[in-house]
Amino acid sequence: MLKIKNLHARVEGQEILCGLSLEMGSGEVHAIMGPNGSGKSTLASILAGRDTYEITEGSIEFMGVDLLALDATERAVAGVFIAFQYPVEIPGVSNMNFLRTSINSIRDQKGEEPMPAKDFLAKVKQCAKLVELDGKLRDRSVNEGFSGGEKKRNEVFQLAMLEPLLAVLDETDSGLDIDALRIVSSGVNALRSAERSFLIITHYQRLLDHIVPDRVHVLAGGRIVRSGDKSLALELEDKGYDWINEELAQ
């Protein structure tokens, strides 16, 4: 469903990704790990369609279409969802209004009718349960005054509501305490399906104890330097990232 080939990207003249290649099948969960500054979050931003990056080479194919030819809105409509590392606050806009606007916008662009209010509310109830998001948080302005953990739970709540084909979790585990980590993980696990793929970007192995990946990739120096199964994550946890850098240097 996702094929990234030899991707090169730069920002302000500096090359951040240099020849990244990655392939994911439907229903797979892949983890991308790597030291700070290796280009992990850049990859998430590029998939989302931020225009602050210049793609100099390579391609991204998503469900058979050229993802790079789509703008951010079109990618969302096509089924790409990013759970952001730092979800923004939107004062005065209730979570519910935000989600209803999102869902109906996507439906509209697909030529579908808006979701009936009754169905919407039923879905909200069901999805909020997944991440233990209580009614108060649902009615508050988007992320305003939310704790770090609440913001991340809200991201997974939105993920559940929007039902994407590809969900990219950009360091969703950062800043989470043990309980929040458990809630977020079980929410994500509940959303795993044969059609939906997850790309989990993380610095630490601990998230992968809860969400067990099919593949683990190590990103360093702007490309994937090693891929393996979940044991690779444990190895990284054990040895740190230095040995990767050392290997690269050789």
Partner: protein, 482 residues
């Protein structure tokens, strides 16, 4: 960010064109341009006014000739030549259309977007309406309901004829003729406006809207409104309309006076969407308005305004909190785009003891526009325990627009408390991107963020007005995208 390079939708704002140019034919029963005593006599005569009204106008004219046009506002325009303005045009009959199909499709599109009902659209665009759902019958039954309660709601011209005692008692008491250059001009030449009187203890059962009488007499270039809420009464008054308003008059200098007697409450809501001019502001309306209310003991006046139109807006709806325990409120959203300039805010004059005022102002600047908040909070020495809270927020949509805040605070009583908060922010690229990533279009994202920002004020509008105003904000900022 360099908005003009990075974000096409923001760039579009600067090139936004008002879709509804001037197409109305000017039918004349006009007096020759120019202003002198003769012009005023002619206006008064054409309106068949009593002598006291003419004398009042002439006195105002004399005062006006001795005044100078103010230049302290943060707006920039070529000086007006007052001798080139035509001061009287008979209420012209708009061309009557056979059906909505004859209405400018662009205008219809906007009215549809605003969610204005078909019937309302017909009325606004002067389509001949059928008998069943006739607006005249609506307005007639509406007048019947009001009359039963003893409420007077009519044009100013009618009031001068039929309710002279009330007009004479209150006209010019809240906004004196010599208050400012434009109020003096208005006093001399005002053509029409609204008059409203709510008797003692009466709660007006419906929102009084100028919608209901706009076609009867046409809105004047120099509108004069007088609203009197007698003791213990309540009224919610709606002025203007979200539909784009065309007008061939460049200068608008309206005066609105509100008298809230003991324990009366007046809510005055305005939506202003006059023609803003082309991308250089050429041809747009200059909106120089004086609005003020006086509160007697325990009375309350609440101004809510959504300002999106006009090339230049100069407007400070104010409250004189004369009576003890009286309350003044001002809630404002001012949107400027293109080359628009707005200098708007309020004055809260605390005279009575335990008087309270609240000011919430939200400015939104796009394009190359300039948006200023100018407000005065004055605690007189008599304003024992007076309180004010002011919050002035500015949102910049582009880096070529400007947001300015000029708060004036004068405190002569040591027990008074005044709080002022102000913020200026850029519309967040991150906020925009967040919305786009969730599948919204740029227009939807801007609409959502801006309405969220202005929510505190929009919530103060009467329900149906609020829904239209929300859509209006999004439309005002959407430019020619989509």
């Amino acid at each position: 960010m360099a908005a003009s390079e990075d974000n096409p939708i923001l760039d579009e704002f600067t090139r936004k064109e008002y879709e509804f140019g001037f197409t109305t034919d000017i039918e004349s029963d006009r007096v020759a341009p120019g202003l002198n005593e003769e012009t005023i006599r002619l206006i008064s005569e054409k309106k068949e006014e009593p002598k006291w009204m003419l004398d009042w106008r002439l006195a105002a004219y004399k005062i006006w000739t001795e005044m100078e046009e103010p230049d302290w506002a943060h707006v920039d325009y070529e000086p007006l030549d007052y001798q080139k303005i035509c001061y009287y045009a008979a209420p012209k009959s708009k061309p009557v259309l056979d059906s909505l199909d004859d209405v400018d499709p662009e205008l219809r599109k906007t009215m549809d977007k605003l969610g204005i009902s078909t019937e309302e659209q017909k009325r606004l665009s002067n389509v001949a309406v059928d008998f069943v759902m006739d607006s005249v019958s609506v307005s007639t039954s509406f007048k019947g309901t009001l009359a039963k309660k003893g409420i007077i709601f009519c044009s100013m011209s009618e009031a001068v004829r039929d309710h002279a005692a009330l007009v004479q008692k209150y006209l010019g008491t809240v906004v004196p003729v010599k208050d400012n250059f434009f109020s003096a001009l208005n006093s001399a030449v005002f053509t029409d406006g609204s008059f409203c009187y709510i008797p003692k203890g009466v709660k007006c059962p419906m929102e009084l809207s100028t919608y209901f009488r706009i076609n009867e007499s046409g809105t004047g270039q120099f509108e004069r409104t007088l609203l009197i809420a007698d003791k213990g009464s309540y009224v919610s008054y709606l002025e203007g309309c979200t539909a784009p308003q065309r007008d061939e008059n460049q200068l608008h200098a309206a005066v609105v006076e509100i008298v809230a007697l003991d324990e009366a409450e007046v809510k005055y809501s305005t939506v202003q969407n006059w023609y803003p001019g082309d991308e250089n502001g050429v041809g747009g309306v200059y909106n120089f308005v004086t609005k003020r209310g006086v509160c007697e003991t325990r009375a309350k006046i609440s101004w809510t305004q959504v300002e999106t139109g006009s090339a230049i807006t100069w407007k400070y709806p104010s409250c004189i909190l004369k009576g003890d325990h009286s309350v003044g409120e001002f809630y404002s959203v001012a949107v400027t785009s293109g080359a628009q300039q707005a200098d708007t805010g309020t004055k809260m004059i605390h005279l009575g003891q335990h008087t309270h005022s609240t000011i919430i102002s939200k400015g939104i600047s796009a394009g190359r526009s300039q948006n200023s908040y100018r407000g005065l909070v004055r605690m007189a020495s008599s304003a024992e325990q007076g309180r004010n809270f002011s919050q002035c927020d500015s949102l910049l949509m582009t880096d070529t627009s400007g947001a300015h805040t000029f708060p004036y605070i004068e405190i002569s009583n040591p027990s008074a408390k005044v709080e002022h908060e102000a913020t200026t922010s850029r519309i967040g690229e991150d906020q925009m991107f967040y919305c786009l990533q969730r599948g919204m279009t740029e227009e939807q994202a801007i609409g959502l963020i801006v309405n969220g920002y202005a929510k505190e004020v929009l919530n103060k509008l009467p329900m149906e007005f609020a829904v239209e105003a929300q859509k209006l904000l999004a439309i005002s900022l959407e430019g020619s995208v989509g």
